[in-house]
Structures are given as structure tokens and as C-alpha cells.
């Protein structure tokens, strides 16, 4: 119960969408070095999934992403 409460406290408060365009994510997502072949931005990922008939594996992130590649 206490863990659940703490998790709730850390729940993400999404920012209101702004008029400014989202930054391109391709080189940023590729900062990850797990060995996964991430595909970005999303339009490119969707195109690859359609052409190769593959499922998308999508990870939305709610705890924040930083310049050091944190998430």
C-alpha cells in the first residue's frame, strides 16, 4: 500500500501541449546503447513497420528525458 502511494506521488504530470514543434528525436533516441535498433522519429518507425509488416514496440516515457540520455 505504501509502495503504491509512493508510486502515485511520482506519477507524471504531463505538460500541456505547446504550439512549438517537437524536436526531432532520431539522433537523441539513438543515444541509447542497449543494442536495440531504435527507429525514430515516429513517422519513420511507422513507415518501417508498415513496409516490413512488423509490430511496433512503443515505450512512452513519463518520468522525463534529459540531454544526458536519461530515462
Amino acid at each position: 500500500m505504501r509502495i503504491a502511494a509512493l508510486l502515485f506521488l511520482f506519477a507524471f504530470h504531463a505538460q500541456a501541449e505547446e504550439a512549438a514543434p517537437a524536436p526531432k528525436s532520431e539522433p537523441r533516441l539513438l543515444m541509447d546503447k542497449t543494442g536495440l535498433h531504435w527507429v525514430a522519429p515516429f513517422d519513420q518507425a511507422l513507415k518501417v513497420a508498415k513496409e516490413s509488416r512488423r509490430l511496433l514496440l512503443v515505450k512512452p516515457i513519463a518520468f522525463g528525458t534529459g540531454k544526458s540520455g536519461c530515462w
Binding site: 509512493l6 505547446e18 528525436s25 533516441l29 513517422d43 509488416r53 515505450k59
Partner: protein
């Protein structure tokens, strides 16, 4: 959390790279990984992710048409995520067809391909009687994944190619890790070549060997030196999680957390929360 957890597992990575199109994005438009098109696509299927307060999102497996066919917790273990991936492919076979290039492979490349798909029996069958260093090494790896260390030793003993020597040293070290022979694990990895492509994996396990001998300070020193000296890879992520987890005060109700603002994570990572580090458990 995911990157240091199941996404740092070789088998998970190989299956995802072979059969899925991985994509990640920040739900916040201000985030470093913000992607408006990705957000719109996901929120259409999961309106709950478009609100003002979102609990830690799951990993979603989605068709290109936008249907969610499976999901896994952000805190899933390697085994749990693998099970979800396998089940999703089985239940959505039209998204798991072999590509044309995958039908024209040599015996060894076909074995690697089948290993990617977690079909170890098929990989052994594809290798047949191929008598090459790579084939023996692959048989050894498959035996190690199965926990059959005698077979692993027998296969790797046939490898005469010295360029695979460090790989075999690492494969053999897993016998000690599996058998909780931590002193032997420490000794096996003490002089592991620093220029090996498996040096970070070896150093990570060297730290584990020390940690499980109740030499926590020495383990932390090894992991911190590893993180400082190498470019990031899956073992660096796992070591960073270990650094954080081994310094956390444990107890009932305590949730592991690195905010990214404090110094717990050598990489400044956010979100080691919700699940104990599996490699630090008393075994």
C-alpha cells in the same frame, strides 16, 4: 529502468531487433525525446496517456494501424517481457513472417537468426555437423543459456580460433555465476582482457562476484570504474543500476529511486524504481 533491466538482456534485444520496430518517446512536449506524431498515435489508442497525470506507462506492442495487441509493465522482468513478446508474435503471425533475406542464409547465419527468435533447438539443427570455430562457439553459447555447462565446456574446447578466446573465457565464467561460486568467478575474471568486446560484461560480473562475497565497497569501486572508463552499453546500464541499488537503504516500503538530480546514478539516470535489482538478490 527498462534499459538497465530487460532491455539490457541480449536475448530480449535480439528478438526485438529481429521482429519488432522499437520506438520510444517522451509524453511531455518539453521532453528531450518529445515526438508529437508518436504521442498522437499512442494517445489515440490509449487516451489515458493523454491526460494530466499518467502513471508509469507500459511497453505497448502495436500494429501499424494503431491497435494495441499486447503490453508489458515498465517494471517487467526479462522473463516476463520475453513471454509477452513471444506470445504477441504467436498471436499475430502475419507480423512475424520471415523476410526474403532471412530465407537465404548460411548454416551459421541461420543459426544466429534462429537464436534471435529464441529457437535454440532450430539453431542447433541448422548448424548440423558444421565443424567451424563459430559453430562450436554457438553450440557452447546455446548450452550455456540452457544451463548445461558440461556441454558448454565440451563445445568450446573444440574452438581453436584465438580471436574467440575472450568470448569463451566469459562464457565459462557463467558456470561460476550460475553455481554461486563467487570466489572462482572473481578469479576467472580478474585478468580479463581490457580490450575485449566483452570487457564491460566481465567487469560487471567481477563486481557481482565481490558484492556477493560481502565486499560491497570493492564491488562499487569496480562498477564505478567500469562506468567511468567505458562508453555506454547494456552492461554499463546494468552496472549503474547496481551502483544505485546497492547504496539504497532497503526495507519495507522503501522504493528505489534515482531522481537524476542526485548523485546516486553515475550516469545521471532517472527512474530505477519499483523493482529490486535481480542480480543483487541473495541467491
Amino acid at each position: 529502468m527498462l534499459r538497465a533491466g530487460p532491455l539490457s538482456d541480449e536475448r530480449v534485444c535480439r528478438l526485438i531487433n529481429r521482429r519488432f520496430v522499437p520506438f520510444a518517446f517522451d509524453l511531455s512536449s518539453r521532453g528531450f525525446l518529445a515526438d508529437r506524431a508518436g504521442r498522437d498515435f499512442v494517445v489515440k489508442a490509449r487516451p489515458d496517456y493523454g491526460g494530466g497525470s499518467v502513471a508509469t506507462p507500459e511497453v505497448l506492442l502495436m500494429t501499424p494501424e494503431g491497435k494495441v495487441v499486447a503490453k508489458a509493465s515498465n517494471y517487467a522482468s526479462t522473463e516476463q517481457l520475453l513471454a509477452v513478446l513471444r506470445r504477441a508474435l504467436k498471436q499475430n503471425a502475419k507480423f512475424a513472417q520471415a523476410a526474403a533475406v532471412e530465407k537465404k542464409l548460411t548454416a551459421e547465419d541461420r543459426a544466429e537468426y534462429l537464436i534471435d527468435l529464441l529457437d535454440d533447438a532450430g539453431a542447433l539443427k541448422a548448424l548440423g555437423k558444421t565443424d567451424s570455430a563459430r559453430a562450436h562457439y554457438l553450440r557452447g553459447r546455446i548450452a550455456r543459456w540452457k544451463g548445461d555447462f558440461d556441454a558448454m565446456d565440451a563445445h568450446t574446447a573444440k574452438v581453436k580460433d584465438k580471436s574467440l578466446w575472450d568470448d569463451i573465457l566469459m562464457e565459462r565464467a557463467y558456470r561460476h555465476w550460475s553455481g554461486k561460486a563467487y570466489k572462482k568467478l572473481e578469479q576467472a575474471l580478474a585478468s580479463f582482457p581490457k580490450d575485449s568486446n566483452r570487457a564491460t560484461e566481465a567487469a560487471y560480473h567481477h563486481g557481482l562476484a565481490l558484492f556477493h562475497q560481502d565486499r560491497k565497497k570493492a564491488a562499487l569501486k569496480v562498477w564505478k570504474a567500469l562506468i567511468a572508463a567505458h562508453q555506454q552499453d547494456r552492461w554499463i546500464y546494468r552496472a549503474d543500476w547496481a551502483v544505485c541499488a546497492s547504496q539504497q537503504k532497503r526495507g519495507r516500503g522503501v522504493v528505489m529511486m534515482s531522481s537524476g538530480q542526485n548523485s546516486n546514478s553515475a550516469l545521471g539516470r532517472i527512474g530505477y524504481m519499483g523493482r529490486p535489482h535481480p542480480d543483487l538478490r541473495r541467491r
